[in-house]
């Protein structure tokens, strides 16, 4: 046993309680969000009863431009565009922005959709990299493709906004696929409340699903364990977590994979920032900051049922890059809009969501990883007893498990999209196993993202190894 002075003993005791307290606090935070989601879903779901009955359009539906930024997406772009062209919505157009892809994205698009160069005048409301050509489809009158020089996803989205014609735009990832009624559902809040400026939809994992010509034939679970863990993760953090924030009017993230925005408001705040990798979150936080500063009435909403299906990484390298990018994006979004934190008119976004994101999501991985390492070192050096170490590990893992299982339960109570017993068993297994290694690994990657952000390491488009499952 090592001889310790009083300061060291105090430090060890403090560390024990601090890290344990941190895990309990973060879990309680998420637990609260899940509970809020339960109540919110209870109020929301009965209103969906009549939505499965066919109805004519009301005439209030606002026209929407769907923007799809694409970079090296030759494998998935056709299915994605096909799914977008099949949406049931009265008035919308689809704008694909090819951001200087190095693969055959442009050729595939030209060939499949019969694109021809169209001499359309392009007004550069938001500054972007040079637009080379605008194409129009000879087969689909509502499909246009913008071919531009590479400038990143945010730059591509800004070019899409410049070329868009309608008052709302919907950003969709090129590897995603929308359900037929998704657009109709996601624009609903805009019809009901004039203050709504942005609405986020749910992103679910398409790996394991059967897809043909842009249509989802059968919902399934992926066989790959990494993808399975992400199914649980998407449920826990992206579905029920965001739903909770939305109820509190403190939604800080609307996924770029599926979100609808009011074009005039986005242009008013300067469009997507091109110097960040988390352009979707950054825009939402900036909208909060700017509009609150100007004391403008607005609402940003998350809906749990308009669904976009997306392909998630199935290999460690791509997943690692994605998580590093996400963490960097989170840091850039929060620290770039620090004025919102506990600001005078900050509301729930500035006083609740922002501090939560800052301490638990942004700095959390650092605390988590240091916690694991310190506890291991203390235990190895016999500075803490094995029971204390076990209690710590048990608390960290069991709380994580509780949250995942609760999300599964919520999913079963509400949408139960995965409808086979094998799906439920698979998800149960995933919810348990993800706590043994996967979550810790994600924390390490997120810590790397935090470090990269601190040292300003550059990161471009998130390149992903595609299976082309869409």
């Amino acid at each position: 046993m090592i001889e310790l002075n009083i300061d060291s003993v105090l430090f060890i005791r403090f560390s024990e309680w601090f890290f344990l307290g941190y895990f309990i606090a973060i879990s309680c935070g998420y637990l609260m969000l899940n509970l809020i989601s339960v109540f919110s879903l209870r109020a929301y779901l009965p209103n969906k009863v009549l939505e499965n009955i066919p109805q004519i359009y009301s005439g209030l539906e606002p026209p929407v431009s769907i923007l799809v930024p694409a970079y090296n997406e030759q494998l998935t772009i056709v299915a994605s565009v096909q799914s977008l062209l099949q949406l049931s919505y009265p008035l919308y157009d689809v704008i694909i922005v090819n951001d200087g892809s190095k693969d055959k994205t442009m050729e595939v698009l030209k060939e499949t959709f019969g694109l021809i160069p169209y001499p359309e005048a392009y007004r550069e409301t938001l500054k972007t990299k040079t637009v080379r050509t605008i194409y129009r489809s000879t087969q689909y009158s509502n499909l246009r493709v913008i071919d531009k020089e590479n400038g990143g996803k945010a730059d591509a989205l800004n070019a899409g906004i410049n070329a868009s014609h309608y008052p709302l735009f919907c950003s969709v990832d090129a590897d995603s696929m929308l359900q037929r009624n998704s657009l109709q559902r996601i624009t609903y809040p805009f019809m009901e409340d004039q203050r709504v400026i942005a609405v986020g939809g749910t992103v679910r994992v398409s790996n394991g699903c059967k897809v043909q010509d842009g249509s989802l034939l059968e919902i399934g679970l992926p066989k790959n364990m990494l993808a399975l863990f992400q199914v649980i993760e998407y449920l826990r953090a992206f579905l029920f977590g965001r739903l909770g924030w939305s109820v509190l009017d403190a939604l800080l993230i609307i996924s770029g994979a599926f979100g609808v925005f009011r074009k005039d408001v986005v242009i008013e705040v300067g469009g997507f920032r091109t110097d960040t990798v988390g352009e979707d979150m950054e825009l939402v936080v900036r909208l909060h900051r700017t509009l609150r500063k100007r004391k403008k009435a607005y609402r940003m909403v998350f809906l749990p049922d308009p669904v976009s299906w997306t392909e998630v990484p199935e290999d460690l390298k791509t997943l690692k890059n994605q998580r590093i990018r996400w963490q960097r994006g989170l840091c850039e979004s929060l620290f770039g809009n620090l004025d919102l934190l506990c600001s005078r008119n900050g509301g729930a976004a500035g006083w609740v969501a922002f501090p939560f994101m800052l301490f638990f999501e942004c700095l959390g991985p650092m605390i988590e990883v240091i916690g694991y390492v310190l506890m291991l070192v203390f235990c190895w050096l016999n500075l803490i007893s094995w029971p204390v170490f076990l209690i710590y590990t048990f608390a960290a893992i069991s709380l994580g498990m509780l949250l995942s299982l609760l999300s599964l339960l919520l999913e079963e109570m509400s949408f139960h999209i995965y409808n086979r017993p094998s799906h439920v068993l698979g998800m149960l297994l995933g919810a348990i196993l993800e706590n043994f290694g996967y979550r810790q690994l994600c924390s390490v990657w997120r810590l790397m993202g935090l470090v990269y952000w601190l040292f300003g390491k550059k990161h471009g488009w998130g390149e992903m190894k595609r299976k082309g499952s869409l």
Binding site: V49, Q55, G59, L60, R420
Partner: protein
């Protein structure tokens, strides 16, 4: 739990197939032996029945209505409206409305008082379908009061309602306009969405006095007669782009040769939507022909205006 739900889902699927067959045969005029529908299957049957009601037109609807009485379901549906859960009450009320069952009137009045906006609105819609004249006294004041009723569903209710009911709503609206309540915009959006195609005095009032662009847009959507054009012209200097879009749309429908000049000025707007509607309006005007259109294109120095003109011509050629 999941296994039970899978078995029940399978059973429901089989029932739906069977029920679909009954309804199709009935619509086709075949004789159908009245089947026994268990209480647990009633909700599924009603979902299917409403689905058919929504997609079919004409005499087929009558055959569907007969199905409810032929299968002896009406009393069961009434019972469902009294004792059922939320979903059951909602579907039962919808079905009673579609079948215009006058006996369900009192039961619907009970549902009309429920706290859920969806429930009360569904009951209101059913009442309007059953007896529009009688319902107007009850439902019209509720449309004004219930600001939690969803506009998109309200518009559908008004669009599909009998003219008697729509007229009653309009009369009430004109009275409300005199009071200038804070929820006026909501009412104007409703009335403008149902496209009445008759000149209204309230259009003149807002087009000449209002500074609220949303209210002006809603009023412009109501303009349908050349006698209202002078109020529209009074708005030509409005800089709000959504107002300009609507002005272009109105001029496209009922514009005169003297309005062409204004439409041409809208072609220089920074907003694509304004340029697009102005161009559509110009091309649609009966006194503009291909040759004068070509001259128009050549006369535009603004590349965006020219571009939109070419686009609309191409779109028209495609049609």
């Amino acid at each position: 739990m999941r296994i039970i739900s899978i078995f029940s889902e399978r059973r429901r699927l089989n029932f739906r197939k069977q029920a679909e067959d009954w309804l199709i045969r009935l619509i086709a005029g075949e004789k159908v032996e009245p089947p026994k529908i268990a209480d647990r299957d009633l909700l599924d049957f009603l979902y299917l029945w409403i689905h058919f009601q929504e997609i079919l037109r004409g005499d087929s609807k009558q055959s569907l209505n007969q199905a409810l009485s032929l299968f002896g379901l009406t009393p069961k549906i009434h019972k469902m409206m009294i004792r059922g859960g939320f979903e059951e009450q909602l579907i039962a009320a919808t079905a009673m409305g579609r079948s215009t069952d006058k006996q369900a009137w009192d039961l619907l009045l009970v549902l009309l008082d429920k706290a859920s906006p969806l429930m009360s609105m569904t009951a209101a819609r059913a009442l309007v379908l059953i007896d529009p004249a009688k319902a107007s006294d009850i439902v019209v004041p509720l449309i004004i009061q219930h600001r939690d009723w969803m506009p998109s569903r309200l518009v559908l209710m008004l669009k599909l309602a009998d003219p008697v009911f729509r007229q009653a709503f309009l009369t009430r609206l004109e009275y409300e306009v005199q009071q200038s309540p804070p929820y006026l915009l909501r009412l104007m959006r409703l009335i403008s969405a149902i496209q009445l195609n008759q000149p209204l005095p309230l259009t003149e009032k807002f087009l000449t006095t209002s500074n609220d662009p949303n209210l002006v847009v809603a009023s412009l959507r109501l303009v349908c007669h050349p006698s209202e054009l002078e109020f529209v012209r009074g708005r030509f200097s409005d800089e709000n782009w959504s107002v300009q879009v609507q002005i272009a749309t109105v001029l496209g429908k009922i514009g005169m040769p003297q309005d062409v000049h204004h439409l041409l000025s809208l072609l220089d707007s920074k907003q694509w939507w304004v340029r697009y509607r102005a161009t559509q309006a110009l091309i649609g005007l009966p006194f503009i022909n291909r040759r004068s259109l070509k001259r128009l294109i050549e006369s535009r120095s603004d590349v965006f205006a020219r571009d939109t003109l070419l686009q609309i011509i191409a779109e028209n050629d495609r049609k």
